[in-house]
Symmetry: C2
Subunit: 252 residues, 2 copies
């Protein structure tokens, strides 16, 4: 085993990009730049500090690497809000999960269509191959910035009833329960990482290939019938799952 | 609501890369190319089929996109094995979790060192800032291919005892229990996606920036003392987390 220590800090003055980074860091941490607010543009920083574009960009890249700022393509750089999280001990819609964190969730309907179910989707929903399935795709925005794209498949009658409801403001789970009168049972989840394809990247304001957290979720009603099969893709800088797990005794 | 159908398949003959892809797909699905076996090299495929490099590469890229093959940088392309998964209803080491799936896990020690704890790590382990902490970093290989890099921090005495044990063959959890006589309690997990930095990419045989599943796990002993603070980084094509969640009644 070796012992290792962090090297002692250099005594040279810090380079320009590091000094700009330090100034911006202080403004973020002391709240002068508020969470989820837009940072001054590169052009404004160049003018304000009299620095080159390359120096400004290096300082911003460092802050992004630290997780202090986030880029939304086509919109600019923003002060990162604390990462939203969802506790998985019980099944909740995202708005239900985030409300206690004081976070505001709004949804934008990206598309809705009804058509014959592809085999994989029919099978998970317990339908005959080719049976009519309704698909609803929504962009979920947290405090005004894109957080996730959710693509949900339902038996056609359920999808049609949901499309009469407030999909912009409410979780699907709550609509299924409150508006459609369905009792929800348990859900099976598979969680993995994936790279954003062009369509997801565009919706989420990311470069193609950016890492996403992907959740596949099959939700049953209280009688055990599958009613909602979803693929949820989250920006990796905006969201984490948290849970607690007990250790059970193992066989010796 | 719009209705949409998949367009009907074209009647033109499929392009060359699609026909090569179909041939290779059949060989993978009928077992002629076994799971986790190395595919013929690009050079061999070019020679065997009399096709250009660009055509061969396009066919292989398509198969990789489908998840049928996987690339390990510096080693070549392999038939993808079924994705390993871990059920999170109870706390298990990875080898414990994968053994029932008939999967073979081996570990390679990448590094071990003892030094003063950085503030964030000391705090999670309930130690004074600067207290001695031991860090053990292992590469976990599933059926011979890299799956994850695990970086684990322990109070120094526990790390020193672990380094006398079979870290190549056994889970840390089992060593803590069986060899060190510690009873494990519960763990807190945070799960997210991240992009591989140069060091992780190199260890896992990925390009830098590839998506990884990242788990931060703090494990306590049966008395509630934190004893093991870890960061686990999994290749996204090799692993998923599965779990079941009940729906509880919500407040109206």
């Amino acid at each position: 085993m070796t012992s290792s220590l962090h090297p002692s800090p250099p005594s040279r003055p810090a380079p320009l990009h590091a000094r700009l980074g330090q100034t911006l860091r202080h403004r973020i941490l002391d709240g002068q730049y508020a969470p989820a607010s837009r940072l001054p543009s590169e052009r404004e920083l160049i003018a304000d500090f009299g620095l080159s574009r390359i120096t400004v960009r290096k300082a911003l890249d460092d802050l992004q690497q630290e997780g202090l700022i986030t880029t939304v393509h086509g919109k600019g750089r923003f002060v990162a809000a604390p990462k939203a999280f969802q506790d998985l001990r019980e099944l909740r819609g995202l708005a239900e999960a985030l409300a206690p964190q004081g976070r505001q969730l709004r949804n934008r309907l990206l598309g809705a269509w009804i058509g014959p179910a592809p085999e994989g989707i029919a099978q998970r929903l317990g339908l005959a191959p080719g049976a009519a399935v309704g698909t609803i795709r929504r962009l979920r925005m947290l405090d005004g910035l894109p957080l996730s794209v959710e693509t949900s498949h339902f038996p056609a009658a359920i999808a049609e009833a949901l499309l009469q409801q407030d999909l912009a403001g409410r979780d699907v789970f709550r609509l299924l329960e409150d508006a459609l009168g369905l009792a929800l049972g348990q859900a099976e989840l598979a969680i993995e990482a994936t790279a954003a394809d062009a369509e997801l990247a565009d919706a989420l304001g990311l470069a193609a290939g950016a890492p996403l957290l992907r959740i596949e979720r099959l939700t049953h009603d209280a009688q055990g019938r599958p009613i909602d099969f979803e693929h949820l893709h989250y920006r990796s800088d905006g969201f984490q799952i948290r849970l607690q797990i007990p250790r059970k005794a193992h066989a010796a």
